[in-house]
Symmetry: C2
Subunit: 214 residues, 2 copies
């Protein structure tokens, strides 16, 4: 497990820092569809993603959901960082999108490392930067794109994250992530099929753009 951590992060962190991380943190393996963080949770650890993918979702007071972005290999959770440092509660939910390996770092170390390691500072600020960009993109999509474009982007993003053009997903799940209704998704899925952008079967959507033998 340490080997995996070293492999993934040896060019990101200084040697001494990597050793400290290994010493202080602990390895964790989580199966698909597990809620890692719930809205309102207080957080004590920060994850470094080694493999897999985590979906980050927000929710309003009436249980509407909206998919914000995914965390993947090499990512960490900027939300967690501020939560940790400020001692605040999470305002997002994190759910594993497939089996995910991560290394959990206790938050009390974070500030020490900020002082001691340049590579940690770089990592932390880079994480913030990536997350802010993802949020900005989410806003752009919501503000400027119609549902059909958003659906197609959603499918492509998902195919990227799961590294496969063959998605196992129901129309109802998609509707939930995009905060719309199942009927709307069915309608637009049909449109995308007519436009030869996807193929569909019960529980299955294939994103043609990502088909290997193209």
């Amino acid at each position: 497990m340490e080997i995996l951590l070293k492999e993934r992060y040896e060019y990101v962190f200084e040697k001494e820092l990597l050793e400290e991380i290994i010493k202080e943190g602990q390895f964790r393996k989580v199966r698909k569809d597990v809620i890692m963080i719930e809205i309102g949770d207080k957080l004590t650890h920060m994850p470094l993603i080694l493999e897999g993918a985590i979906k980050i979702v927000n929710e309003d007071d009436t249980d509407n959901e909206y998919l914000l972005y995914y965390l993947e290999m090499g990512d960490s959770c900027a939300m967690t960082m501020t939560c940790c440092i400020g001692g605040k509660k999470s305002n997002i939910r994190a759910v594993t999108e497939k089996e995910t390996l991560m290394y959990m770092i206790p938050i009390h170390k974070m500030e020490d490392w900020l002082i001691k390691y340049k590579s940690w500072r770089a990592f932390v600020f880079d994480s913030y930067d990536v997350r802010m960009s993802e949020m900005l993109e989410a806003i752009n999509v919501l503000a400027f794109q119609n549902m059909e474009e958003r659906l197609y982007k959603y499918l492509k993003d998902r195919a990227m994250v799961l590294q496969s053009p063959f998605l196992e997903i129901t129309h109802y799940q998609i509707a939930n992530d995009l905060n719309t209704s199942r009927v709307v998704i069915s309608r637009l899925v049909k449109k995308l099929m007519i436009d030869q952008k996807i193929e569909t079967n019960r529980n299955k959507i294939t994103v043609l753009e990502f088909l290997p033998q193209k």
Copy 2:
């Protein structure tokens, strides 16, 4: 001017840090409607807002705009921080919403201070936290609210920022900030008026909730 800086930030920063800030930075006064940061700019200074308000806006490739949030007294620009540290380009635009006083800090100091001052670390991470929350709220509004609710929130937010229930603004400007059309805004303004939430005249909207003699 230093007095203002000390007054606003003496409880935020350690004494030594405050002195360093005064020494390294420089005071700047900017009139209303000045573009402080344009999309694609490289940034060399980070602003501490002493007085006034700055509107942060994003834009897609076809010149559509959308208002993200405001910076006010006590705020700084988290976007600028990542830009600075990562040496990247800005992906937002910043425009003064009224005359604004700020203290410009050269970015090369930022990392030093992260190491040296606990209060600087707290400030930086708090800034990120506030900005992430604002972005999240923007996403919530876009994902879950209809145009009428968004318009009303927009007017209330603006009244807060400008500290007055009497807004001088055209329907066209509002439409631009919310990325919709003037006709739509006119329609909804009328609705809000009928519902006794606002009063309007040419170029003027009064948010009744914020009227003092209520």
